[in-house]
Symmetry: C2
Subunit: 231 residues, 2 copies
DNA sequence: CCTTTTTTGTGGTTATGACAACAGATTTGT
DNA sequence: ACAAATCTGTTGTCATAACCACAAAAAAGG
């Protein structure tokens, strides 16, 4: 269930042209999207920075599409340690995994990292009824599948990177994969040191130590979030 | 590309009644499935224990549905350490993530854990063409989405369990979640000690040590793969 | 039933990384 | 341009977990 919402805006405010450029609605025209919003029980809600959108334990019937702002997906363990699992900016979606597996309680919180506006879409109705009932549903489902598969790859990657038990192993697994994926020995990463440490599940200072060591060995050059790998 | 196949069986050998009971074809009748096989370019291949089905670096156009035997999904890192990521038995599918994100090179190997028979289905064709071209495609895609979302949850869980830096933290995260999911303080797990250690990314002896400690504290009772959590 | 193999628990040693504290560098805001 | 805040690298201490070796227990196989 959605919580702490400040206001509910009527659908007419929706920017269908913006939506048609999001991965979820890719290939659908603004007019088609407008036609779909009824089936999807589209609802827009606004959140202030720090507000909770979904809480662990909730069952999410609707996925969220970020209209503006940024949403963080956070896992809190027993002892209160928070782990950032994912983040979704404008045009991206979140909670779609739970919206696609009805009844499954969420393991994470979704919270607004900044003042944000979220469009909720009840995809469950589409998934349960025959897609022929509405022409454009099938495209939406295909897009959802593509997004889900891509998220799968991202989760797998994080698992691979953290498979090594040493800081060095994790760092090299991550960096060398980035080099491969960028097709270049020189690239930038979307993390600062603290975030990279959190992502690789290591201590920040230990990470800095290892980076320094690799630089002294000549295996690496780095400045801020730019890296160059020795071949 | 598929490798090392020993024989190609013609479609008439397929057991459509079996297929209709698999998660992928759930809700489709044997006759409907038979009609679909053409669109899916269905091909059956047999593999001997240990044979490679897909290699890391391959691009997989077809997903694999295990007809009999068992397929292991294995990640080999830089230094040759192998990690079992997943396993698929009869009726289950593998490589569907890659089949749904065309062009993405695989990060894992797929290999036969025992003599196996695999049905390859080219879902890419379905995803790229309008689903109306074949009545039953939409159900297949919805099933694929459900499977993908569920795999997502499994990957997330593994990440949560290994988020803690201590053996104790990981073990308790895993066991307490199992208790919740089983709805009971008493449950069995699908791992022996070595497998659980691998899954949680810790050393086996360290795991045994921690289990012993928890038992002495009275927080836990265990025998083999049976556990009972103190409340 | 006995042998062989696999699984599990323990102890000791050592390397490693978490943690804390701090200084220099860089960025941001005013 | 300056002050404040944030980010990064460095050092030292200490707890923890990996690693190794072995014995007890359980399972498998004949």
């Amino acid at each position: 269930m959605k919580q702490d919402q400040k206001a509910i805006r009527p659908k007419p405010d929706l920017d269908f042209s913006f939506l048609s450029r999001t991965p979820l609605f890719l290939g659908a025209s603004p007019e088609e999207i407008e036609a779909m919003t009824a089936c999807l029980e589209a609802e827009t809600r606004t959140y202030e920075k720090g507000q909770m959108i979904y809480r662990a334990g909730d069952t999410a019937a609707a996925l969220g599409l970020v209209l503006c702002g940024r949403i963080l997906i956070v896992h809190d363990d027993f002892w209160g340690n928070a782990t950032v699992m994912d983040s979704a900016g404008a045009g991206q979606i979140f909670a779609e995994t739970y919206a696609c597996t009805p009844g499954e309680p969420m393991m994470v919180n979704a919270e607004a990292a900044e003042d944000s506006q979220v469009l909720f879409l009840n995809v469950g109705r589409i998934l349960r009824t025959c897609s022929r009932s509405c022409e454009h549903h099938s495209r939406l489902i295909r897009n959802l599948l593509a997004l889900s598969a891509r998220k799968n790859l991202n989760l797998s990657r994080k698992i691979f990177y953290t498979a090594s038990k040493s800081v060095r192993g994790r760092l090299l697994a991550y960096l060398s994969d980035q080099a491969v994926r960028n097709g270049s020995h020189s690239f930038t990463i979307p993390f600062n040191r603290q975030q990279l440490a959190d992502y690789l599940n290591v201590d920040r200072s230990a990470l800095s130590k290892e980076i320094g060591r690799l630089q002294r060995e000549g295996a690496l050059k780095t400045k801020k979030n730019w890296f160059e790998m020795g071949k």
